[in-house]
């Protein structure tokens, strides 16, 4: 449609200009603040250049937060993909078309919930005395107490389970829809060769879906960066610093504990650089 019209310019330019302003102003300003020593309590500030960044690398709590964030990212992404592929293939294999529709509807519900709601729902459920999820344990052990959210060893996994509850089930629906778009011939051929069900999926269907599955994982990696709501409601980074991810630590430095806005901003800038570099590289590879 190579027509001479002003439409592309009038439609695209204002929107992109606004998006650029809305995104670049905070981004650049985050860098400016990170080079100063602003605090919420006073309006005075001076330029300290890179000293916030130097302090960060000497801050053991920051290094812990980096490690927790990496753990969170790996645990949630891997678990989500495993649940999604497992349930997706199961639906494809054993559910009738009508059952598939019902399951698809059910599996979308958790991801639609506000993270705050999901976090509360599971915080009640994990309550050691009155929670519904810990009830089976109390029943079997005759009343022993299991408190997953207050043990350093289990807290991260307990919070991650809520993330997987939301995203793993949702992605299972997408995996099913992807399987349904595949042509039936290769599956039939494999069946004629007496391949077992799981072999068909491991060697035929899932390799055919490699590209969309990688994109799906990419989306999950981005969404996993947004862990703040769940952690804020469920553990506040605790017990101790066992679930303190980077955004949680930045928030508590900037707002709760000391109001060190510049210090928090330096952390945010590092996160921004790391994510933009990682995801730009991954995106180019996915596209290639």
């Amino acid at each position: 449609m190579a027509r001479r019209t002003s439409l592309p310019v009038t439609f695209v330019v204002p929107t992109i200009a606004i998006l650029l302003v809305l995104s670049m102003v905070p981004t650049l300003y985050a860098i400016v603040i990170a080079l100063q020593n602003r605090e919420l309590s006073t309006p005075d500030y001076s330029w300290v250049w890179l000293s916030n960044f130097v302090d960060l690398f000497l801050d053991r709590r920051f290094l812990n937060a980096v490690w927790v964030s990496v753990k969170w990212e790996i645990v949630t992404v891997v678990a989500t993909m495993v649940v999604a592929i497992g349930l997706g293939v199961l639906m494809f294999e054993v559910a009738s078309p009508r059952q598939r529709n019902v399951y698809c509807l059910l599996f979308i519900i958790p991801v639609l919930l506000p993270r705050v709601s999901a976090a509360f729902v599971w915080k009640f459920a994990y309550h050691p005395l009155y929670g519904i999820a810990t009830y089976p344990y109390r029943l079997i052990t005759g009343g022993l107490i299991f408190d997953p959210l207050s043990k350093p060893a289990t807290a991260l996994f307990a919070v991650a389970s809520v993330d997987v509850w939301q995203w793993g089930l949702f992605f299972a629906v997408i995996v099913l829809k992807l399987l349904e778009t595949l042509p039936p011939q290769p599956i039939e051929a494999a069946r004629l060769d007496h391949a077992r069900r799981w072999q068909i999926h491991a060697y035929v269907t899932l390799p055919m879906l490699k590209a969309p599955l990688i994109s799906l994982m990419f989306v999950k990696m981005i969404e996993s960066l947004r862990s703040f709501d769940l952690i804020y409601v469920m553990t506040r980074g605790g017990p101790g610093v066992a679930t303190e991810t980077l955004d949680m630590y930045a928030f508590s430095q900037g707002f709760i504990e000391s109001g060190k806005v510049s210090y928090a901003s330096a952390m945010a800038v590092l996160m921004m650089i790391a994510t933009v570099i990682t995801f730009t590289m991954l995106w180019k590879r996915v596209q290639a």
Binding site: M91, Y130, Y232, A250, M272, W283
Partner: protein, 270 residues
């Protein structure tokens, strides 16, 4: 039935149960008195009460939060529609050498850590005097809604058969009326899905709202999260009721969004 299939069906049924049961249990708890919630053995039989729900609906903070959420999300989505849809159409139908870069830029906005946006914006809004106001929240949310609507609407417009638009041009329609009278109505269903998705996204947003409001502009998720910090005696029933209230609006879009998902994959098939 083979044992393998039976096991598979059982796992699926359990997953389906797991998907909805926690939420149903919360809804049930919102109808209970505290005595019926704080029990070592979960109670299914109890005398229902509406006290929690009426307490929630009667609180000023909750009502203010609800209004703020509706106004902030509604306005941001409206801005997203007005600015995002035309831009998406232009990128889809008049691709030029920047089209790829524009799409990548719009997607890359999603990479930005919310903290990295919220901290500088808080300082900026404080300096401008707009901190803790709805306009500040709306402008910030517009960044989210415009980019998400654009991202999802580009494929929706690409899926409109070109022939229909060509025919309209032949009939003497201009470029703008083709967009307005042909492309928009034909793509309406997918676009509705994209818009609903952007609404759910900002309705559920927590971190930015937490950082950009202190009292006046608090949205419902913030108010709900604060209810848990009242005193030593956790009002479980009230908390459950607030969770239910907060979760209802996104669930209203369940039908639209699952239809949207289906239409996305039907396009891929053909």
């Amino acid at each position: 039935m083979k044992p393998g299939r039976l096991i598979g069906k059982t796992i699926l049924a359990f997953a389906g149960f797991l998907a909805v049961f926690p939420l149903l249990w919360t809804a049930l708890n919102s109808l209970k008195n505290n005595v019926d919630i704080i029990t070592r053995v979960p109670r299914l039989v109890f005398t229902p009460t509406l006290a929690n729900i009426s307490y929630i609906l009667g609180r000023d903070s909750v009502m203010t939060g609800l209004c703020n959420s509706v106004v902030a999300c509604g306005s941001a989505v409206l801005i997203g529609v007005v600015l995002g849809l035309p831009a998406a159409y232009a990128v889809a139908r008049y691709p030029n050498r920047w089209a790829g870069d524009i799409q990548f830029f719009v997607l890359s906005l999603r990479f930005l850590p919310p903290v990295a946006v919220a901290i500088p914006l808080m300082v900026i809004w404080l300096q401008v005097g707009l901190y803790d106001t709805l306009p500040a929240l709306i402008i910030t949310y517009s960044l989210l809604t415009i980019s998400v609507i654009m991202w999802l609407a580009i494929p929706a417009f690409q899926a409109v058969p070109k022939e229909i638009e060509e025919a309209a041009f032949v009939d003497g329609y201009g470029a703008y009326s083709v967009f307005w009278r042909i492309a928009l109505p034909v793509a309406a269903r997918s676009l509705a899905g994209a818009i609903a998705f952007s609404f759910v996204l900002v309705w559920n947003e927590f971190l930015i709202a937490l950082m950009l409001s202190s009292s006046n502009a608090k949205t419902l998720p913030i108010v709900a999260s604060e209810l848990s910090q009242q005193g030593m005696n956790v009002p479980w029933g009230i908390l459950n009721a607030s969770v239910v209230l907060l979760s209802l609006p996104p669930l209203l879009f369940l039908g639209v969004l699952s239809g949207f998902l289906n239409s996305v994959f039907r396009q891929k098939k053909t």
